[in-house]
């Protein structure tokens, strides 16, 4: 697993696709492939109001990456310093094994180069000290570029704050 994690606040996401467009612009993607995506799920009635959830998907940058194991040429590469899984285009032969191997449909077919390319967490931006474009441009700032240890600490803190809101009930 890369040392990074992108979290999404479902309550704030409005399904506007700004993340996808910012990503496509930043990485100059042709029509078709998407490095990250928004999958609307619903609507489903909850307490009388039809609710929809927008599931944000990008590459998990797995520790034991299916795509890497499937790649016969070593094109699917893990960056040593932070674990980002990316494609070395010069080594890719376009066999699509990684596409078949990934359970989440992450590697994308580039119709122009006829090779695979995929989310690399905008590593050119990370190296400049910036966040991935999807996170940076998100309309409502519902995406958060973080690290797993930070994310779990945040979840605990938010949980504690919710408890605190209800202090009257707890201490009655």
């Amino acid at each position: 697993m890369s040392q990074y994690l992108i979290t999404q606040n479902y309550k704030k996401c409005i399904g506007c696709f700004a993340c996808v467009v910012h990503c496509k612009i930043e990485n100059n993607l042709p029509v078709g492939p998407r490095f990250c995506d928004i999958l609307p799920v619903g609507p489903k009635e909850i307490n009388g109001v039809p609710r929809i959830i927008f599931v944000y998907m990008n590459c998990f940058h797995c520790e034991e990456a299916f795509c890497m194991k499937a790649c016969p040429t070593g094109a699917m590469t893990k960056r040593v310093k932070d674990g980002i899984v990316y494609v070395r285009e010069d080594l890719c032969i376009g066999c699509k094994s990684c596409i078949k191997a990934c359970p989440w449909g992450i590697p994308q077919w580039n119709p122009n180069s006829r090779k695979v390319f995929k989310c690399h967490l905008c590593m050119h931006r990370l190296d400049r000290g910036e966040k991935p474009a999807c996170v940076e441009g998100c309309t409502t700032s519902c995406l958060n570029f973080t690290k797993p240890e930070e994310a779990t600490a945040n979840i605990r803190r938010e949980y504690a704050e919710r408890i605190a809101e209800n202090l009257k009930a707890i201490l009655r």
Partner: protein
């Protein structure tokens, strides 16, 4: 040499004008972000982000063209700018000699970047400036003027601190502006309650505390019943109402018939829910907003419906209250005075051709009634109009009754399209002038009004990619050729900007650092005990003498909507985050990829009756016109509604991505080129017949 720079500017992918931060590398735009000095993040909606794809698209007019065939034939001859200007000067001169300058009309999409178009008309002496508001905000603008002496947009909404927000069909989270969407989300996530009323479910509805599907055309009934409960139960903010509201007694008498039980039958919303809404709003007053809407060219009674919404806000005392409606503060509130280019030329005293402000005294000329223009052209009454300039506006694609427009065009000596896009109107123009895009030009300084007013500037990021000119260059050259150069005394845009800023202590250079100039650190609130409204009485006029004197009642009895004919649906349209202002977004490489066509959304009961399945291709017709579209079926829509996104069914072949995809809502709205009491076209009074193909 790798040269990187950042330019702060203002977006123009829609009319929201969000502040942006543009990254440029070796003269090429790499990315457009939201301005972090304004948003606190680089957030920018998908349309704004796709501005890069817009800029580098070749499917837009690339040089001046003069028509070389029949109007609408799509045959053009490339000309030099010199030839284009001479052609125009010659035509304008002839028209002015024969009919006077008032025979020249211009329309645009409104907003603060219209100064130079207005100045051009003023310089010539024509009063016939129009905005697109006949199909947008006319009813809400004119209603608010009559109630509080404010336009729709001279007040703002303090969403962040709002505790109870009631919205009638204003799809805040899809038909969105970045800053507003962020604030609404912040409100919802900090416990503010959103009540959403619409004829269909939207993403905004999905985030609501309560969502009601209302019977189409009955929103006014709901507003009246809310007023009924609030007034009869004395739930209003008494201090505020006693101080500022004129006509409470008149209101009380008027609303007596409009009980929640009565409204329940009209709207389909249970009486106890209406009552609860009134009580809940009152519990949260004055941090309450009843949202008056934005695109409000819906119904014939819109003017009164919007008046009723503003009255609800007045009853809640939400004007200039934290979490309510604030009066937008400008530079003047910070002791800074900027000069407006239009102030250089004398005001035109000639009467407008559309009757706004004269025949219709309560309709403001600043927006006009563009729907009257074809009739004026046809009849030559009250006087002839012989030239029409469509300035970044596409009436053929956005106003009803296409044939009426095209027929009227035949009586014109000159149709000019100035645009960054191939518009439908440009297809029927005599001459097309390609405007430099918003990334290729500098415009006039604008005030970003609000609680913390700022000055903001759209500035040139890169040189025009094609043979295009800025609106400044276009109107300045035309004015000079017509002997009116004195009204455009600035050499270039930067000189104009510095002239606007004279005496403020700021200059053009001050926009380099952040793109905006902050005029205050703290939000400015007026004293709630000393508010002054720009109405004749200086108060909030529930009863308006000005209206009554014009023969218009201050409040009008509710009229039942026309029943939907059997086998028909009422056509309602709207927008998504990926597309507004269809001409800018529908053919965009990425926005088109993500949302290439529109669908007709219908209720399962209607689908069953008509034997329609998901994905079926249907022909929709009304009044002799028809469009083809695919069907989507959803239970979360009123059974009498057919909903589709606006801005599709592009007929311009050179826009290859959007050409022919989906259906045009506006084409189907044939017969709605009408003047209603609010000055709006009643677009949502269109009934469509649906036949499976």
């Amino acid at each position: 040499m790798n040269e990187k720079k950042v330019v702060y500017s203002l977006c123009c992918m829609c009319t929201g004008r969000c502040p942006i931060m543009v990254e440029v590398e070796n003269g090429v735009i790499k990315h457009i972000w939201g301005n972090p000095y304004v948003f606190g993040a680089k957030s920018l909606c998908p349309r704004g982000a796709a501005g890069v794809a817009f800029e580098y698209d070749n499917e837009r007019p690339q040089y001046p063209m003069i028509r070389d065939g029949e109007r609408g034939s799509g045959k053009w001859r490339r000309v030099s700018w010199e030839e284009a200007f001479d052609f125009l000067a010659d035509k304008f001169k002839k028209i002015i000699e024969e009919y006077g300058a008032k025979a020249i009309a211009l329309s645009d999409r409104g907003g603060p970047h219209t100064e130079l178009h207005k100045l051009f008309l003023r310089a010539l002496g024509s009063p016939n400036y129009f905005t697109h508001h006949a199909t947008c905000s006319n009813s809400v603008h004119n209603a608010h003027m009559s109630v509080a002496g404010h336009a729709r947009n001279t007040v703002g909404f303090d969403y962040k601190n709002c505790k109870y927000l009631v919205v009638f069909g204003r799809n805040l989270l899809e038909s969105l502006i970045t800053g507003e969407a962020r604030n609404v989300i912040e409100m919802i996530n900090s416990g503010g309650k959103l009540v959403y009323i619409d004829v269909r479910w939207t993403y905004t509805a999905s985030k609501a505390y309560k969502f009601f599907i209302i019977n189409p055309g009955t929103d006014y009934a709901l507003a009246l019943a809310l007023i009924n409960v609030i007034v009869n139960q004395q739930l209003y903010e008494a201090d505020f109402v006693n101080r500022y509201v004129i006509g409470l007694k008149y209101l009380k008498t008027f609303i007596q018939p409009y009980t929640p039980e009565w409204a329940a039958k009209e709207t389909g919303i249970p009486a106890e829910e209406i009552r609860r809404m009134a009580y809940e709003a009152a519990e949260n007053k004055p941090s309450v907003i009843f949202h008056p809407g934005w695109m409000t060219a819906w119904y014939s009674q819109d003017f009164y419906f919007r008046r009723a919404i503003y009255i609800l806000n007045a009853l809640m005392g939400s004007y200039e209250a934290k979490g309510g409606i604030f009066i937008s503060k400008g530079a003047g509130d910070c002791g800074v005075k900027i000069k407006q280019p239009t102030s250089i030329a004398p005001k035109v005293t000639e009467e407008r051709c559309d009757g706004a402000g004269t025949e219709y005294p309560w309709i403001k000329g600043q927006w006009g009634m563009l729907q009257r223009l074809p009739e004026v052209i046809e009849t030559g009454q009250p006087y002839p109009i012989k030239a029409y300039i469509a300035m970044r506006h596409d009436p053929l694609a956005s106003m009803p009754d296409l044939e009426t427009w095209i027929k009227a065009f035949e009586k014109l000596d000159l149709v000019v399209a100035i645009d960054v896009n191939w518009s439908w109107t440009s297809w029927y123009a005599d001459i097309i002038l390609p405007e430099a895009t918003y990334l290729e030009r500098t415009d006039n300084v604008i005030e970003r009004k609000g609680l913390k007013p700022q000055l903001a500037l759209r500035q040139k990021v890169i040189e025009p990619r094609f043979d295009a000119k800025s609106r400044f260059q276009i109107f300045k050259t035309l004015a000079e050729k017509l002997g009116k150069g004195e009204y455009f005394p600035w050499r270039d845009e930067i000189e104009m900007v510095n002239w606007q800023l004279e005496g403020t202590g700021f200059t053009f250079e001050d926009f380099a650092k952040k793109g905006i100039i902050d005029l205050t650190q703290e939000p400015i609130w007026y004293d709630r005990k000393n508010l002054k409204f720009n109405t004749p009485s200086g108060k909030i006029e529930v009863f308006s003498e000005a209206l009554e004197n014009s023969g218009i009642p201050s409040l009008s009895p509710y009229e039942k909507p026309t029943p939907t004919p059997e086998g028909h649906l009422r056509l309602i349209t709207g927008k998504v985050a990926l597309h507004t202002q269809g001409r800018t977004t529908s053919n965009n490489l990425y926005l088109n990829e993500l949302c290439p066509e529109n669908y007709l959304y219908i209720h399962p009961s209607f689908a069953k009756k008509q034997g329609l399945k998901e994905g079926d291709l249907v022909e929709i017709s009304n009044n002799g016109v028809s469009q083809k579209i695919r069907v989507r079926i959803t239970p979360y829509i009123h059974p009498e509604i057919g909903f589709m996104l606006h801005g599709f069914g592009d007929p311009v072949p050179v826009r290859t991505r959007s050409f022919g995809k989906g259906a045009s809502d506006v084409v189907l709205m044939k017969g709605q080129l009408k003047v209603t009491v609010g000055g709006n076209c009643p677009l949502f009074e269109t009934f469509i017949k649906i036949d499976k193909i």
